[in-house]
């Protein structure tokens, strides 16, 4: 019994999305809900029969078999209906459902491209990806977004409608449009990763799952020759480096541990070396993407020794990243690196020009920079940060810094 309680959720996570992708490809993308229903029914059948008859010897094969039968029944009903309405539409009968590894992979990849389209909002892309590509339950998605089931259901419903209206089809993009389409897919994968990495959700298992799902999707892109591009490798490298600090960045009470205070023995060496591998795979071709720069920055952060060389490299990479793509967080991190290389006074002068006055990280940074230079000013900035911070985790970190002064 115990075994089933863990096996079925596990299989749901790994197999649900495969079944949906293959059925969707077979039925047509506009029948996505039917594909999802059949996949859900398949798991319902497992939940109902396995406790009575025991776990079948090949659970995955069992699921595929049941899904195929259910799909065939549906197609038959469809064709009877169509046969009456329009006798010309008979050609779909008798074709089998192909659950081979190759077709599963192709279908999932096509599904990725179909969902990651600017036609629907980034939140909807992430939501649908979690549901359809990663087999997340609505409740888990709601948890990850700090939202409720109704909102997520509505969001996913509208997204499906929109995809139908726009007649989005399940197919690989043409070679000439692949870079542009890949850019959207990569953005969604990175957002999905960040959703997990920086999520405000207290549930750390879900947060980790989001990150590993994002990495799994990216790995699928790397494993397919058509989508194995330098920037995709850079993105995967970046996520490996970040994920390597998972254990180190959360303390025993679930509190956030900042980079400088982390126990480096908790950094995951296997993920760091994977990150290094994909970073070297990314180093060809004429385009230097922002993922390349971010992955290189993340690489230097995985070097434990606190040397001038390390921070000089990080500073120059941030200088370039900001030219390619500005973001407030990159501007703040760049200024932190500047303090490490050019000294706190130089960094204070630069920080005061940033004017990110609604951002608590901005005042936390200023507080850090003034610490040891002018502690009164440091406290004043930390207090502003405390006022602007929204989560208890952030407030606690800032309070600790004030207490130290």
């Amino acid at each position: 019994m115990m075994e089933q309680q863990t096996l079925i959720p596990h299989l749901f996570r790994t197999e649900y999305s495969k079944i949906v992708a293959v059925l969707c490809k077979r039925f047509g993308f506009d029948q996505m809900e039917i594909a999802e229903d059949i996949a859900s029914d398949t798991f319902l059948a497992a939940v109902q029969t396995w406790p009575l008859h025991g776990i079948p010897p090949h659970p995955v094969a069992w699921l595929y078999h049941v899904a195929k039968n259910k799909a065939r029944n549906w197609l038959q009903r469809e064709s009877v209906f169509r046969h009456k309405v329009s006798p010309a539409l008979k050609e779909e009968e008798g074709q089998d459902i192909d659950l081979s590894p190759k077709n599963i992979e192709d279908s999932q990849l096509q599904m990725m491209f179909a969902i990651c389209t600017p036609v629907i909002s980034p939140e909807a892309q992430i939501g649908l990806s979690l549901r359809i590509l990663c087999g997340f339950g609505i409740e888990e998605i709601a948890d990850a977004f700090l939202s409720n089931k109704e909102t997520i259901n509505k969001r996913l419903f509208r997204a499906r409608e929109k995809l139908r209206e726009e007649k989005i089809r399940l197919r690989m993009p043409e070679v000439r449009e692949i870079d542009e389409r890949l850019a959207t897919v990569m953005t969604t994968i990175y957002l999905l990763f960040n959703e997990g990495y920086y999520s405000l959700s207290q549930d750390s298992t879900i947060r980790k799952d989001l990150c590993f799902e994002a990495m799994r999707l990216c790995r699928m892109l790397v494993e397919n020759p058509m989508t194995n591009k330098p920037a995709v490798n850079a993105l995967l490298s970046l996520m490996c480096f970040h994920a390597s600090r998972f254990e180190a960045r959360v303390g025993p009470q679930g509190e956030m541990v900042l980079y400088d205070d982390q126990d480096t023995s908790l950094w995951d060496a296997a993920l760091i070396s994977q990150g290094g591998y994909y970073l070297s795979c990314s180093a060809h071709g004429p385009f230097l993407s922002s993922y390349h720069l971010e992955a290189s920055i993340a690489y230097w952060h995985c070097i434990k020794e606190d040397t001038t060389e390390k921070w000089e490299n990080i500073l120059q990479l941030y200088n370039r990243l900001l030219q390619v793509e500005y973001s407030p967080i990159a501007a703040l991190n760049r200024t932190f690196a500047l303090a490490k290389t050019n000294g706190k006074l130089a960094a204070i002068a630069e920080a005061e020009k940033l004017m990110l006055t609604d951002n608590h990280f901005y005042y936390t940074l200023l507080g850090e920079l003034y610490t040891g230079i002018d502690n009164e000013k440091a406290i004043a900035h930390f207090l502003l940060a405390l006022y602007l911070a929204k989560t208890t985790t952030d407030k606690n970190i800032i309070q600790q810094k004030i207490n130290r002064l």
Binding site: N319, R320, L322, Q323, Y326, A330, A331
Partner: protein, 114 residues
């Protein structure tokens, strides 16, 4: 917000400085650009190569090098976003080129296309 071009006028660094000094200037230039980009005010820019340049005049007259007054040659340019010419001038003041006697930064507003 308008766009301004900051035009750097200075001689060929390779001819007046050691490789070590060049490296220091390079870092200072990168930090200067990064500081503007960190304020989300950087639009674009390029350094210009001094070697093997030409000037084309009327009647297809082509000469080597631009160069009248050596300190008047253009070594690069950067385009920034700024609220006013004064803000753009503040950006220009940080350029390491101005450490050299006789060098200058020219600040010009970019004409808007109708």
């Amino acid at each position: 917000m308008d766009e301004f071009v900051l035009i750097m006028r200075h001689p060929d660094g390779k001819k007046v400085a050691s490789p070590e000094q060049m490296q220091i200037w390079m870092k200072q230039t990168m930090d200067w650009i990064g500081g503007i980009a960190a304020q989300n005010k950087y639009v674009g820019g390029n350094g210009l190569v001094f070697d093997d340049s030409r000037v084309v005049r009327p009647k297809n007259v082509v000469t080597n090098g631009p160069f009248g007054e050596i300190a008047e040659t253009i070594g690069g340019y950067m385009i920034v976003r700024a609220e006013s010419i004064d803000e753009a001038v503040e950006f220009a003041k940080g350029c390491p080129v101005l450490q050299g006697e006789g060098n200058s930064m020219e600040v010009r507003k970019i004409a808007k296309r109708e």
